[in-house]
Amino acid sequence: MVHDFSAPPRLGRRRLLQGATGLGALATLGPLGACAAPASLAGGDGRIRFWNLFSGGDGANMRAMLDRFRSEYPELTVEDTTLAWGDRYYTKLAMAGAGGRAPEVGVLHLGRLAGFAPGRLLDPIDPVLLAAEGVHREDFNPRLWDRAMVDGELYGLPLDVHASLCFYNRPACAAAGLLDGQGRLVELTGVDTFLAALDEVRGVIGQSPLGWNALMSGECWWTFLGLYQQTGGTMLSEDGTGITLDDDRAEEVLALMARLVADEYAIPGQDLVGYFVNGGGFVLFGNWLVVDFDNAGVDYGATPYPTLFGTPATQAESHCLVLPHQRGRGGGANEAAHRLIAWLVRNSVSWAEASHVPAYLPVLEDPEYLAMEPQAEYRSAMDMAAFDPPAWFFGTSSRGQNEVGVHLSAAALGSVSPAEGVRGVRSALRKLINTRNPFGEGSPA
């Protein structure tokens, strides 16, 4: 039914029960009553409800970390709920925050913070409570921390950076003479060097040398964002209201993306794990494939994107811990929430096992972290991170990524020329800027 996409009916439990007449009706409506009841009234003092979206391989690490927290703080109760990733998570988090009945702690992609109405759907984090738990601004990359600041208040505590990487097949690269003395991929600087390396590897493995799925607009967005930032260009002004796209540079990047497909370096539509596990050469994708590749026992390494256009940069996002809006947040439950988020960040070496780069700088120096392969190999992704432009419509799985990404994908697949692709990107950005932020005031963009 098409009209079902509207929000669920606002009907209180009592009216529902009054209306239900027969036992049969009661049985049918029982679960619905549970839905309509407030998901949360203010929690007990030692109770922390924690919503996250770690439904992938990293979910197991998060659950293990929470178990350790529970054993260290037996007086606190952590109830964690893992919800399906993407829109489905964000719609729930937004509605919970709008009603002021949200869980104590949530997870948010940093790129989505601007669109999530800080101050309305999110409550600020108390720096005093954080400091009491031993976590300070100096412990973070200032770019991450500052991005989570809105109007002088901190709305997200960065947990990690997860980046687009260049995975490489170690034996194939060795045969092509592309490894250095330590068995790591040599620096491939500039488009020509990169394509030459791909050609070498093609010769070794006898199939297309690069796993990169140009069919998916999201993956095109990641690649474009990283490579375009390498040219030194920006897309939007700092306040997110003006287009600053440099057409020539954007076209140059799109031309490379189209060439990767046209010259069959990469076959669109390919399953990347299937490709790499079956002897593929390189893969361009997010760091969480580490979990899949480790499970498959592949001999590989992973670096940030090679620098093809001048300045090192690789697309990245960051999971941050947030306090969704609760009416009357405060008291013991709020202190417990701060304790949990500070603890998670301080102990994020376990989180790094799930392939993410910890945002808490002391962990990056931890010998335990430095011994992790290939995690330590791409820790510099932190310093060259290319984040989504600062606007309400960008961030993981956002409208902006969808609508701009479609034009990038069309250009990469060769359905339109790179120049037309750039025009498409421009018109998509224009349309997004002209759309009112649905959550309105409270967001800086």
Binding site: H3, A7, A25, L413
Partner: protein, 315 residues
């Protein structure tokens, strides 16, 4: 695609027992209603009101407002969302894709289902096997179907390209991608219409064929002059069910290809979801829903009108 269950219910006929007096206050009248089964209908009416009437009404209200998902900053804008939708090229593209899909799949389903039903009806051995084989895919959930066909369409090591030994751009070019969606959907849903046809074939009395054979009609003539007219009602039903279901197409396209490439297979339902849930604009999404809803109502009314006309002709 959701199984086609949107069959228009026949309009309830008002029948009153002769002699039942109209008098009495509202309380008395209500009492009579409940005496005659009202209590049995009440649970259904309640669910109906909750899940159909209420969303319909509230959706209409949302569509007249700039409503967002969180329900903050709502502003009444009258027909503003509808005006925006009519000027929104992407909405028209998405609606166009849905219509294109409907136009491609509907005749294919009718012809294929009829052909399969004829086969299964006339085959002498292993009848049960053919019935099961043709109907079984219909039982798969859309997620399973999508996963299956994504691997079949895989460009390099997919079964299809591997067998053909040629790199067919199944999902990579707009027209191919739409065809691929139609093909996967045909395989998935043809079983339902097949079953309807099979039942219709079995209800054709044998003596018609015997008489025609005596008169010297060959197999083709018998099919054209007896079978086809005898299943005409079912064909009409399948047509309408198929159109209604196809106008709501979403799952398999979203799961296989996310509406790509270049949004060339993106159905309007996906656009509604993207506006409402990715973009948080519930008001605008509701307005587009209403435009699609109107389209579906038109199809349903057209069917009712056709059926009524035919009934009158028969009389």
């Amino acid at each position: 695609m959701t199984p086609p269950v949107t069959a228009a219910a026949p309009a309830p006929t008002r029948s009153r027992r002769p002699g039942a007096a109209d008098g009495g206050g509202p309380r008395a009248r209500l009492g009579r209603v409940f005496q005659h089964g009202g209590w049995f209908v009440a649970p259904f009416l309640l669910v109906y009101a909750l899940f159909l009437v209420w969303p319909l009404v509230s959706g209409l209200w949302y569509s007249l407002n700039e409503t967002n998902l969180a329900g903050i900053n709502t502003e009444f804008i009258g027909l503003g969302n509808y005006r925006e939708a009519f000027g929104d090229g992407e909405m028209w593209d998405a609606l166009g894709n849905t219509l294109r899909f409907t136009a491609m799949i509907t005749p294919l389903i009718v012809v294929t289902a009829f052909g399969l039903a004829l086969l299964a009806h006339n085959i002498k051995r292993g009848k049960w096997f053919w019935r099961l084989a043709f109907f079984a895919p219909f039982l798969l959930p859309s997620a399973v179907l999508a996963e299956l066909w994504r691997w079949l369409y895989e460009p390099d090591f997919g079964l299809l390209n591997n067998t053909l030994n040629h790199r067919v751009p199944w999902l990579l070019e707009g027209d191919w991608a739409m065809f691929s969606m139609v093909l996967a959907t045909l395989w998935w849903t043809v079983g339902f219409s097949f079953l309807l046809y099979l039942a219709a074939l079995q209800s054709i009395p044998n003596h018609l064929y015997e008489a025609a054979a005596l008169d010297g009609a060959g197999p083709l003539k018998r099919m054209w002059h007896i079978t086809v007219p005898m299943v005409r009602t079912i064909t009409g039903l399948i047509l309408v069910l198929q159109i209604l279901a196809s106008l709501q197409v979403f799952d398999q396209i979203f799961l296989i290809n996310e509406g790509g490439p270049n949004n060339e297979t993106r159905p309007v339902v996906q656009y509604i979801i993207q506006q409402g849930f990715t973009g948080y604009r519930i008001g605008y999404a509701s307005a587009i829903s209403y435009i699609v809803f109107l389209l579906i109502v038109v199809v349903t009314l057209a069917r009712l009108w056709l059926v009524r006309n035919r009934e009158e002709n028969i009389r």
